[in-house]
């Protein structure tokens, strides 16, 4: 909501100019972000990659805060992919430490802002100490009714589908059903994101034009916004700019006009 920004935005600032251009009746319900560029940010400053990840946490804070104030229903952040295990062990350890520190430090804040914390991905393969913090955050915020902060950890879009199909097949066998009876909706309900609307807006920082195995099923009709800004530099105005760009686009969902859009929205 606009009023939620009154205390944090300076009159006459770039934030304010951008904020005024946002149509609050047509906000994306769900924003997904591929947080790319921490390493490049660090390289440009001749800093260790870990310093880039630390700086990236500031961008997470800013994005979570601004999204919640806007009134976005869900924000999904791609924090750690299945492929990221290929990174140097020291870097992985630092990332996990930052995640734990972030949760410990921000949990009160998240809770106070009525944000519900969730994860997607095979989190059971993460270190027990990380899982402990994740469970604590999920449990504490389980009954919050505000924005859903969904963090993708040890996530892969293909693995998500594998997991969904396995569960679905087991269910079909148990119920003695044939494959014919499986519907799109039923598949969606077995994905990690069950219950969440599909992302309307997918933001990728650092200029790369790739989806990188992120929410493959769910982004079927998402508007993709790519910015050259590196993730550690991403702040409120960058988020506003993405939303303004999104709102300028005509979303057709494969149809021709607004009626087609409504048809799809009603169907899902």
């Amino acid at each position: 909501m606009l009023k939620d920004f009154l205390e944090v935005i300076e009159p006459g600032s770039r934030d304010e100019v951008l904020l005024k251009q946002i149509d609050f009746t047509r906000l994306p319900r769900h924003i997904a972000v591929i947080m790319d560029g921490n390493g490049r940010w660090a390289n440009r400053r001749f800093l260790p990659r870990v310093a880039g990840h630390r700086a990236g946490v500031e961008a997470v804070r800013a994005t979570v805060d601004a999204s919640a104030r806007l009134g976005v229903e869900a924000l999904t952040l791609y924090a750690f992919s299945v492929e990221n295990w290929k990174r140097p062990p020291f870097e992985i350890e630092a990332l996990m430490t930052f995640l734990k520190e972030y949760l410990r430090k921000e949990l009160e804040n998240i809770h106070r802002n009525n944000i519900r914390f969730q994860t997607i991905g095979r989190t059971n393969e993460l270190d027990e100490s990380v899982q402990f913090e994740l469970r604590a955050a999920i449990r504490k915020t389980a009954h919050n009714t505000g924005m859903i902060l969904n963090v993708a950890l040890n996530y892969s879009g293909r693995v998500e589908m594998v997991d969904a199909f396995r569960k679905l097949m087991e269910k079909c066998q148990r119920e003695g059903r044939s494959g014919e009876s499986i519907t799109e909706n039923e598949i969606a309900r077995h994905l990690y994101t069950a219950g969440l609307p599909d992302p309307d807006l997918l933001i990728r920082t650092s200029g790369e034009m790739r989806v990188s195995n992120f929410l493959l099923w769910q982004i079927a009709y998402s508007e993709i916004y790519v910015t050259e800004t590196l993730w550690p530099d991403f702040r409120r105005p960058d988020l506003f700019a993405a939303i303004i760009d999104y709102q300028k686009r005509e979303r057709r969902f494969g149809g021709l006009n607004e009626n087609a859009r409504l048809a799809v929205v009603n169907a899902s």
Partner: protein
């Protein structure tokens, strides 16, 4: 007097590099010190190998800086192979090969002793913490004041009260009284750190840490003295006026840098 003057010039630079700007400044100074210390080691050892050794050491320090710890083992492997091959190619026509192992081993050991241990100082500088953005600078400030207070405490207590020699053959100037004075200095510095800039370091951690650092520092100092005497030199070099060689300054830090790094991993992470 030269000793005090050196400190007055050098300490402000050291602490300024530590607290102002990113980790690169301090790391560059530390790397320069470590590489010069290693160069002194090679001169003391007088068995050659400076070029490969300093190259491997520089690569190792870069790996510490960029958090690519997994590359350090690869650098060691490469250095071992290079030094062994160097022996093979230069000695094949010698009458006797008895110097092969001492030379190859001495050259590799310098990198391990000075750069692998000293590199931990850089590893500490690049520690990142969300809760405590100054943690790395605080840890290293603690590190230096504990080491310097120990050295100073030992020096003056030893001069005033020193009777019983600690290790007469290794380092005739060191006394038991001086060592105790050093430990008092170490602990006092850790307490000062706790009460001034480093309150998150608990006293129950700070004092034992300082005492272990003190003991390891003395041990490191004695080891380096023995190494030097083995090489028939009193000071490892004469870079810092009044302080002997750079290696003499580094010796008590080399054993303590890994200690402090793992102390952080266990107690402050």
């Amino acid at each position: 007097m030269a000793r005090v003057l050196s400190a007055i010039v050098f300490l402000p630079i050291l602490f300024a590099a530590l607290w102002i700007g990113g980790p690169i400044w301090f790391s560059a100074i530390a790397a320069a010190g470590i590489l010069l210390g290693l160069y002194e080691y090679y001169r003391l050892a007088s068995r050659g190998g400076e070029v490969q050794g300093l190259t491997a050491a520089a690569a190792m320090l870069a790996a510490f800086y960029f958090g690519r710890h997994e590359l350090i083992i690869a650098i060691i492997a490469a250095l071992v192979i290079v030094e062994m091959l160097a022996q093979l190619f230069t000695r094949a026509k010698d009458e006797d090969f008895s110097e092969m192992l001492p030379v190859a081993a001495t050259r590799v050991f310098g990198v391990l002793y000075v750069a692998a241990l000293g590199g931990y100082i850089i590893a500490i500088r690049v520690i990142e913490s969300l809760d405590n953005p100054r943690l790395a600078a605080k840890l290293l400030t603690l590190f230096f004041i504990v080491v310097f207070a120990g050295d100073t405490g030992a020096y003056y207590t030893g001069r005033a009260l020193g009777r019983k020699r600690l290790a007469p053959r290794v380092s005739p100037g060191k006394t038991v009284e001086g060592a105790i004075g050093g430990l008092v200095g170490n602990s006092a510095a850790a307490l000062i750190a706790h009460f001034t800039f480093f309150p998150e370091l608990k006293i129950v951690h700070a004092v034992p840490l300082a005492l272990v650092m003190g003991v390891l520092g003395i041990a490191g100092d004695l080891c380096e003295s023995m190494l030097k005497r083995g090489a028939r030199a009193k000071d490892a070099g004469n870079l810092i006026p009044g302080h002997g060689g750079l290696l003499d300054r580094l010796d008590s830090m080399l054993f303590n840098a890994p200690l402090l790094y793992y102390f952080y991993c266990v107690f402050l992470k």
